[in-house]
Symmetry: C2
Subunit: 330 residues, 2 copies
């Protein structure tokens, strides 16, 4: 059966609130630099009160990845829950306007649309504080089976383990995909997220996944090792999986059939804001996989997409990635 979608993503549907910041601000509020931390509505309000002037841009890790796939010319779908409020309208508008199929109904009661306060320091590092809001309303009833069945790859956020019922949605999507012989990809999302859900992530790695995305901190956390080579060897003990492990300016390591290869990063002129780097790497990689490209080419596509998104504020591409890739690979 032909796939109607190249990739279907599931994730927490979030609007990003992005402001320039400095290390003193992070220290004052005790924020863990570079990490994603979950906060309550009250904490979010208090932090926002002290935050500098901000811009609002639709975000959400898997949503960003799907926007990247669409910008590459791929057919992408997304599932995630917003509330029926202005930020929810913004999220819905932006992902659809980017060409991603998105039909999850907005919550009509409960908390407002999720927001992620992002503090970008002069070193371009981003520190994320997320109020999950309406994401806690996302559950298995929101899984559109036909879309999952029609997608070559289903792409799932590790972050979905945080809101109470989203992991059921995740497991439902995984079952549907596997029953149709489709591939399932997981991103480990964040090192602290791995800490919170390590046992379940390891169980998924052992049983149901085809592709795993991680950065260096996340893969070290998953295997609870302190050395990158050790982590790679641990991944190699699961030769049935594809592993794509990003290492910032050092590029990425891809592992398939137990073989590990290093792929260098793209040269970047100016790094402004690293928000979305991992998400857009996944866009390029998944797009390559859906086009049956060799893993090294998938990684290269990932690096080109990541390089675009870190050159400006915000987690979604400003350039048309299809044209960008064509110009880079010419």
């Amino acid at each position: 059966m032909n796939a109607l979608f190249d990739v279907a993503g599931l994730g927490n549907a979030i609007v990003d609130v992005i402001a320039k910041s400095d290390d003193a601000f992070l220290a004052k509020h005790g924020l863990a630099k570079g990490a994603m931390t979950l906060i309550s509505a009250e904490q979010s309000d208090r932090l926002y009160d002290d935050m500098g002037p901000a811009i609002e841009i639709s975000g959400g890790s898997a949503a960003n990845t799907m926007v990247g796939v669409a910008s590459l010319g791929g057919r992408a779908a997304y599932m995630g829950r917003v509330f029926a409020d202005q930020l929810g309208q913004v999220f819905r508008h932006d992902i659809r306007a980017a060409g991603v199929h998105f039909d999850t109904a907005a919550a009509a009661s409960g908390p407002p649309t999720a927001r992620c306060l992002i503090f970008v320091t002069p070193d371009a590092q981003r520190t994320m504080q997320t109020y999950l809001g309406a994401c806690v309303e996302f559950g298995p009833e929101d899984i559109d089976a036909a879309t999952i069945e029609a997608a070559q790859i289903s792409y799932l956020e590790g972050y979905l383990w945080d809101p109470p019922r989203a992991k059921e949605a995740f497991r439902a999507a995984m079952r549907i995909a596997r029953a149709k012989g489709r591939r399932v990809a997981l991103t480990l999302s964040d090192a602290f997220c791995v800490d919170r859900h390590r046992a379940e992530f390891l169980e998924l790695v052992g049983s149901s996944l085809d592709i795993v995305f991680a950065n260096e901190a996340e893969i070290l956390s998953l295997w609870q090792v302190s050395n990158f080579d050790e982590a790679v060897r641990a991944c190699q003990t699961h030769p049935g999986r594809i592993w794509a492990i990003t290492r910032s300016e050092k590029g990425s390591v891809v592992i398939g059939n137990g073989l590990a290869t290093h792929v260098p990063a793209e040269r970047v002129e100016r790094i402004v804001d690293t928000t979305g780097a991992g998400d857009l790497y996944a866009s390029g990689f998944l797009h390559g996989l859906s086009r049956a490209q060799p893993l090294v080419e998938c990684a290269r596509l990932g690096h080109i997409c990541a390089a675009e998104v870190i050159g400006h504020y915000g987690p979604r591409p400003e350039a048309n990635l299809k044209s960008l890739v064509e110009s880079r690979l010419r």
Copy 2:
């Protein structure tokens, strides 16, 4: 009496929704390129549906100008009406976080916070479609007399002539300022806005204003002449006013005591989005005036601020303007 504020601004409180666009899109929707057009809620929704992925940034012409004054180290206040919704919270947060005194109560009933859909074409020109929303609730009861009395200069948007009762607020503020011997500045805002309200603007010029800001199209429209030199001569017939007339890359012409001087623009490396150029020119000019600088220096400050804001998306400065000015004038 010492002034507690350097400048108090009055204007339509608006959140900008900014997307890249092209001339074909403007043509398809019959949008007047470079202009500000008022649209209904329904037109706004329709246009938004067809708009590309966007970013949300607080805007509003006089609000942008006040943020610029604050960024220059000046003491700025602002009055304008939002609704008690998420976009209203965004507006309030951003202007306060920028250091501007802002206390106007949010409307609790009536239409939502105003938004301006801004289409930025590859030539960096911006085309604005504004739904005034809660701005129509702004009236003389929102004027904080103590703030106007405490401000050296009150700065008023021509755009305030569009919502029904804002011009009453405008006139009330003007009366309060003049009774205290304070100065009153008006920006003509937009050539079509001048078309809509020419008779009243001319009456203000003849009776109550100290400082008038305009761009070339606006000043031609005010005097209904087709030639820039003619427009300058018409301004010179009002020697009691200060005129600051911007001409894009040609710089600006300042007129005081009937004497006109050309001031060249700042060199700009890359023009991304001209939204806010006039607003930030006014920031620099007003800041200079409040520091009793010569008019040519006021214009130069205006050009430095305008050059910053057109180098990135959005109508508010990303850099600290005080530091920027110090580095430029060193």
